[in-house]
Structures are given as C-alpha cells and as structure tokens.
C-alpha cells in the first residue's frame, strides 16, 4: 500500500472523543480512521458507518453446513450404502438431526471467523502501523490523512481545538496482507 502522511490526535476520554468525531466529520478534512482500546458503543454510528454484514455471511455458511450434512448422510444411507437397521426406513431423518445441527454450527462459526479475519485484514504475521502505543491501552486515536492540499499546521491546530491531549504528524503505510507492508519499513530504514 501507499505511504501517506497522517495527523494523529489522541484523546483520553470517550466523552471528548464523540464531539471531536462530529467536528472532524463536519470539518472537510479527510478522516483516515479512529482507533480505540475497546469497543465504544455508538462510535460506528457517529462515524456514519453501516452495520456490518458479517451475520449474513454467518447465515450463508450455516446453511451450507446444513445442506452438506443432510445431503451427505442422505446420499450415503439411501444410495451409496443403505443399511437395514431392524426394518427402519433408510432415510431416517430424525437421527440425522444432531449431526446436521452440529455441522451447521461448525460451518457457521469457522466460516464467520475466517470472513471476519479477511474483512479486518488480520492474520498471524500481519503488520500494521500503530499510531500510538497506547491506542490499545487507554487512548482514543483519530488519524487524519494529510492530502496534497491540506495545511499541516492548520490541521494540527484544529485537532488540538477538539480536545486532543497529544498531536503529531506521522508517515505511515496502511497495513494490509502479507508481504505488502514493505514501503514503511524501507522508509524507516532510510531515516535511520
């Protein structure tokens, strides 16, 4: 991914963060992202984000599991290798239910977690730029992109006016999948 310049503002209270987010969205500056150490309820709404469609993915995976289990067992017991258990019907649906249920849950859970990792771009070994080491501890961080036409000083001043306790400018590469996070490392080496 491309290397970009960011103005970073840190807040120490979600009560300050919410008005700041509102101001930032109305200011016309380009908002990169907001980082919080824990799920802050209502932040997605304040940022105007849509509700995630992860549940729909979960449902689709679940249905796939149901179909796999039912289809497979029915095929085995009626076509591939029918076994006569005391004259009971080959297609004995009630006794298929436990395994069908388990596979539904298994497919839904595994599929959803993989989808979740894909959407969030997280995976063992993935590296991403950390704007502030305390963004996973006790600070709420807003990262603003400094585009070509943006005045760095004005933007920092504006961020300070929203109640930020700490502001700075950073050059960073947006983290992505494996092997794509090389430009920032090269840049850091160049600096050192």
């Amino acid at each position: 991914m491309a290397i970009k310049k960011f103005a970073v503002a840190c807040y120490d209270d979600e009560a300050v963060l919410f008005p700041a987010v509102d101001k930032v969205r109305n200011s016309g500056y380009k908002l990169h992202d907001v980082y919080t150490p824990f799920p802050v309820h209502g932040l997605d709404v304040a940022l105007g984000q849509k509700e995630t469609d992860l549940h729909i993915a979960g449902f689709c995976f679940g249905i796939t599991g149901t179909a796999t289990a039912l289809g497979f067992m029915s095929w085995i017991f009626t076509k591939d290798w029918p076994i006569n258990y005391g004259g009971k019907p080959f297609f004995n649906l009630p006794s298929f239910i436990p395994i069908t249920f388990e596979l539904t849950v298994m497919f839904a859970a595994v599929g959803m977690v993989l989808t979740y990792c894909y959407l969030n771009q997280i995976m063992p070994g993935v590296k991403k730029h950390i704007f502030h080491p305390r963004q996973t501890d006790d600070l709420f961080v807003i990262a603003m992109e400094i585009t070509e036409g943006t005045s760095e000083v004005e933007l920092i001043d504006f961020m300070k006016s929203t109640g930020a306790i700490e502001t700075n400018v950073q050059i960073a590469e947006e983290g992505w999948w494996y092997g794509r996070w090389d430009k920032e490392e090269a840049y850091q080496k160049q600096l050192a």
């Binding site: 009560a15 919410f18 799920p39 395994i99 849950v105 979740y116 993935v126 590296k127």
Partner: protein
C-alpha cells in the same frame, strides 16, 4: 445513545479506583513479571502428572485394553465416567461466555476468559477417553466419514456415539474460535506495551496485527454476538448428545427421557464448581481481587445452588419413575443402585450434589471464599460419582445373573485420569502465565457503568429529579 447509567444498588463489577490504564496494568502485570516459585512448582507438578498419564496410556496401548478393569459386563468404567465428567466441566465456560452474554449479565466480563480457557482444556481432556477406550487407537480415524478403501464403508450416522464425535469436535472448535477472537485485541495490548523484542514479536503474531479501528470493533461485536448465539444451543446440544449415549440404549437405569435436561443441569453445576475452584486461586495468586470480586463468586454460587437443586430433583424423579413405570428390571436396577454393593457411590453422590450445595442458600456462606473453595471441590467429587453411578451401577448386574460382576479400576485407568489432570493444569498454568486471565477490553467496556469509582460519582445524581437526572446522564458524552 443508550442511558449510560447503572444504580449503585447493583454491586460494582470492578472494585477500587481504576482507570483504563490501571486495568491494563493490573491484568498484564503477571504476564510481564517472572513467574513466581509457586507457579514453577505447580507447573512442574502438573507436568509430572501429565507424564505419569502418558506412561499409563502408553502401557494400555501397548498391552491392550485388558490392562483396564473393565470387562464384558461393565464395558464402560472410569474411562467414560471421566469423559462425561470433563465434558460437563467444560459447560460452565460456554454458559458464562455465551448464554450470559445473550442475557446481558455484566458480571460475566470478569470471569469469562478464564472460564472459556477452562472449557477448552476440559474438552481436550475429555476427548482422550473415548479415543483410548477404542483400544486399537491407531484406527480411531474410522469414526470420521472419510472416503476410504474399505469398500467406502461409512460410520453409522444414526448412532449416538457418532453424534458425540461431531458434537465434541464442533464444541471444541467453536469454543476455541470464540475464545481466541476475544483474545486477539488483548494480545495487541500486550504487544504494544511489550518491553522486550521477543515478547513484542510473539504477541505480534498472536494478535494478528490488530489495531482496533472503529470498524474492526463493530465487526468484533457482531462476531461475538453471533458466536454466542451459536454456542448457546451448541452447549445444550453437546451434553444432550452425551446423554443420548446412554438414553438411546435399552439398559435399565439409562433408558430415560429425563436424561438430556438432567445432564445439562449437572454439567453446568460441575462446571461452575470447577470455575470457582480455579478462580478463587487465580484471583489470589495474581492479585485480581478487584476484577474477580466476591460478587462474581456469589453469582456463581447462586448458579451452583440452582443447578444442584435441579440435579437433586432429577435424582428423585429417576427413583419415582422407576417405581411408577412398574418395570421390574428398572425397579431392581434402582434398588441395587441405592442399596446394592455400590451403595457408597450413590450416597456419596447424593451427599455431595444434593445436600452440600443447599448451604449456598445462606448469603454469608455464598460470600465466604474458603467455604466456596471447599464446597466447589465437594461438588466436583460428587459430580464424578454421579457419572460413576450412572455408568457402573447400571451395567454391573445385567439381564444374565451369571455375568454379574463387580468392577474396580486398575492403576492404568487411574493413571490415565490423573494424567488428564496433568494435561488440564499444565495448560491452565501456561494460560495463567502467558495469557490475559481477565478480558482487558471487556473490563474497560463496563468500567464506566459498573466500576466502583464511577458508580460512586453517580450517587449525588440519584438525589436529583427524574428530568434533571436523565438530562445529565444522557448527555454525559
């Protein structure tokens, strides 16, 4: 925005004067310090037990299943008893993490991480027993519906034992995913405050590159909610299916429709006892008394008295149904169960599971740490006896009096059981040292509504009129 207020009448979930940074500090401290001497002693003792277990199992695999005390009449002995016991223990973790999440029980946040870890380790232990009970363990993969060269011979999908294979493996997988998806942000916290290079690297891998953007957290919450929704019927189905192993057979003492709810209640009962045993120690050793409060312990003791009473009702119902059914085999089976050669196991079960938890009707005892710890062990012993009673006292006198027998375990069976304790505690010691024992992000999430210091600030507000109160609280952001 919802009303971000909780009355002081409700006990705080986090005690002391905590800030977000203090929460991180308190929970990460044990991970960043050198392990104590107590930890080393416990860990190596667990390894020793694990080693003895491995030896016993190797012995059994080498010489065959004949080294166990089971015989033609009592085909299931300690092995299946231990299997059901461990699976049952696992249930509390999922109940806390999933069912209490759906019921919006705030107190789950302090204990869910450790309880879920316990679930995973308990299911790992449980899984060993049916596998090694197969005898020729190298053929264990026969239970999987794999395409094969044996004439495409499939397992019997109508068998409760095969349902169990699917139930336990699904349960393990889903619990692991649920647990780990919650751990990822907490690993990121440890990564970002790591002082040494190695720690930063290892927790960097474990945290999957988590940064905590608003969208990430939105998906995180959606994922945990759906996983909770999936785990809730799952956890009920798992012990239901375990009970089907017995209930679908025509053995007097097993052939009962009460089994599924009775087993699920028993599982939750024993699981909460184990959670209490572990957490009473963990909170003391890692000085986490502010996060795992007496209130948490009391809440779990309430679950113990409820489920213990359900189990008690089930025992009495079983006796009643045996008499009421007018089936002589059923009646005789229960007569022998209560008064026969195994009477001691029945009465151990009755005392430990039905009588002892009744002490928890008293608030003083529910909030007494030492008493809770002792009673949780009593309940664990009682629940082991319950499974022993159900399995062995239904089998040892079958329809043919000439094959009646008396079963006792051999050292290999006992060694196997001891070995699973080794496995469980080895895993738990590693978890307690290297993993955040309390869910850091979740505690921070409830801190401002349920933290002691924040609740105290609300006290003067409660004096105000309703309009004023709503105005101040609603515009708190």
């Amino acid at each position: 925005m919802h009303l971000k207020y909780e009355s002081f009448v409700r006990e705080p979930l986090v005690n002391g004067n905590k800030t977000y940074a203090q929460v991180t500090e308190d929970i990460c401290r044990p991970i960043e310090q050198k392990p104590t001497r107590l930890w080393y002693m416990g860990f190596f003792f667990s390894l020793l037990l694990l080693g003895f277990g491995a030896f016993s199992v190797t012995w059994e695999v080498y010489w065959g299943i004949g080294t166990w005390g089971i015989n033609r009449t009592v085909g299931w002995g300690w092995d299946i008893t231990n299997f059901v016991w461990w699976v049952g223990i696992g249930h509390a973790g999922t109940l806390i993490s999933a069912i209490l999440l759906l019921f919006r029980q705030g107190w789950r946040t302090g204990v869910n991480r450790a309880a879920e870890a316990m679930t995973i380790f308990a299911v790992m232990c449980a899984g060993q027993f049916p596998i090694f009970h197969m005898g020729r363990v190298w053929n264990a993969f026969f239970v999987l519906p794999l395409p094969n060269s044996r004439g495409a011979l499939w397992p019997n999908f109508s068998s409760a034992l095969l349902w169990d294979v699917f139930a336990i493996s699904t349960y393990f997988t889903v619990s692991l995913l649920f647990w780990y998806s919650g751990l990822v942000p907490d690993f990121a916290t440890i990564r970002d405050r790591a002082k040494t290079k190695l720690r930063k690297h290892l927790y960097g891998i474990a945290s999957f590159g988590w940064t905590g953007t608003a969208k990430n957290w939105q998906r995180f919450e959606a994922l945990s909610l759906v996983l909770a929704g999936l785990s809730t019927p799952l956890v009920l189905s798992v012990h239901t299916i375990v009970s089907f192993d017995f209930a679908t057979s025509v053995i007097p003492g097993w052939h009962a429709t009460i089994f599924p709810p009775y087993f699920v209640a028993g599982a939750v009962f024993s699981g909460f006892a184990m959670v209490n045993t572990l957490l009473v120690l963990v909170r003391k050793i890692f000085r986490l008394e502010d996060y795992i409060t007496i209130g948490h312990i009391e809440a779990m003791n309430k679950v113990i008295v409820l489920t213990g009473s359900i189990v008690g009702v089930a025992y009495i119902t079983e006796l009643f149904m045996a008499w009421y059914s007018q089936v002589v085999y059923e009646q005789q089976a229960f007569k022998w169960r209560v008064l026969g050669p195994y009477w001691w196991s029945y009465w151990a079960m009755m005392t430990c599971n039905v009588i002892s938890p009744q002490f928890f009707w008293f608030k003083k005892l529910r909030r007494n740490i030492v008493f809770t710890f002792l009673l949780s062990i009593v309940v664990n012993i009682g629940m082991w006896f319950e499974r022993f009673v159900i399995i062995v006292t239904s089998l040892y006198r079958d329809y043919l009096p000439s094959s009646w027998t008396y079963y006792s375990p051999t050292w290999t069976e006992m060694g196997f059981y001891i070995g699973t304790f080794g496995l469980f505690f080895t895993c738990f010691f590693l978890f307690a040292k290297y993993f955040p024992v309390v869910a850091i992000a979740e505690i921070k999430f409830v801190l401002k509504t349920s933290g002691d210091n924040y609740k105290r600030e609300m006290l003067p507000l409660e004096e105000k009129s309703v309009e004023e109160f709503v105005h101040i609280v609603e515009h708190a952001h």
